[in-house]
Symmetry: D2
Subunit: 143 residues, 4 copies
């Protein structure tokens, strides 16, 4: 059984930066983490019309609660790649984002997995409820 | 049912570096990844007596295949922390390392999870079998 | 007296990545270093027609010998910016690259300075002479 | 003529973290920047008795205005190193810090240079006068 994705999928293209390369001469594992954060940031603005800044300006921030990443093949210096993300689920506690990182030239998957984000109050760093209007806004991106 | 750890657990102390801090004024999530890699590097040398360099000198490297990390509470600027790791399992394909990152002052767990490492040939980046003598060496650290 | 630049100037556009932001909520100072390296990497390929890979494939690499950076105003989350570089001078020992990092929206200079690069042999990390044909190739980009 | 340093010099020991290594298999140039910031952070607390947090708690921060770094020889994976810093000069506008990064095993200098720091108001990111009592406090570390 394959689950059909319920929410739309969005993608953003990037290029490996030389400082992302580690002693194995491939992209350092932890940089994929940053690539997904970058894509989320861009897509919140461009695709969802609810930019990170809209949260920051209200004293709120999205932080990672749990992450699962599976590395399939490396990206190397100079590679262009596509980061795909979609909402897997969202409720007042958690927003689970599925992602894939694909090599643009080969179209092969380099890494996939998911992130659970929680919303925090910037002032004290504590988790807060994801507001109903945010959940409703994301629901408008259901297929 | 709680599983008793089979392999010994080792720990290394570090301090947060200012460049580890992100816009949330806590340690950036992907840095925990690097903290675990640092602890593995140190412990391979100090605790297991089989340094990373012993692999690199043979043209071999350890790379992450899969990672699972669960963030419980943040580390902030100036914090000292303890990274604990132990082997969860090892066979010729994979070495699973469990880890915990604990705030030294509060003794509270900040992050835990596991990494699956594969051994690669540096020349081509491809996975290679973990040699029997390496598995046997690690077996000597069973409790 | 203002010196007229002798070599052509090239520019590349990037966007701040969220992981570039530090506890001051602006781009971390050391990231400007990486931005210039990224622009050099891109421009070696696109603008000079002599990609970094052409050097790496011969077992050669460009490393920084000296750097001078002057920070004028910060870049923040979400900013697009332009990195401009030009050759200031090149001889068999050193290649000095001047750079500027400009905020795209305001067109204001955020950081400028220069990098001295030396060519090294990757095998031993030692400086080697910049070959005459490389110097000649760059000379074709004189105005 | 050699100038005698007027202010005391302090030193802090660190170890290279695996994530500091780049594709040249040495410490990435921009990481020296972070090593100096780490040493300043530690020494403000331990050596000067006026921790970074004392500034942050007043809504103030130290940011780099200008940097000059000269790389002499690389640090590699596993190296221990000593970061030495001293105040070169301080007035109400700027604090110039001289630094050296030395390989602990060889006692050889890997990198030296200086940083000009300005004090900013965290709320608006603008430079503010370095208070007279801060300058006076540092003056007590004159030889």
């Amino acid at each position: 059984m394959t689950t059909t994705p319920v929410y739309n999928t969005f993608q953003t293209e990037y290029r490996v930066r030389p400082d992302d390369i580690d002693m194995y001469r491939h992209v350092h594992n932890s940089k994929y983490f940053d690539y997904v954060l970058a894509a989320r940031y861009d897509q919140m603005e461009c695709c969802y019309g609810m930019a990170m800044e809209a949260f920051l300006n209200q004293g709120l921030g999205w932080v990672v609660r749990t992450v699962y990443m599976d590395y399939k093949r490396p990206l190397i210096l100079g590679d262009y790649f596509i980061v795909t993300t979609s909402i897997e689920s969202i409720d007042e506690k958690l927003c689970r984002i599925k992602f894939g990182v694909k090599n643009k030239a080969s179209n092969k998957l380099c890494c996939d997995g998911w992130f659970d984000f929680v919303l925090i109050t910037m002032a004290d760093g504590r988790a807060t409820k994801i507001p109903a209007d945010v959940i409703a806004h994301y629901a408008s991106f259901k297929k």
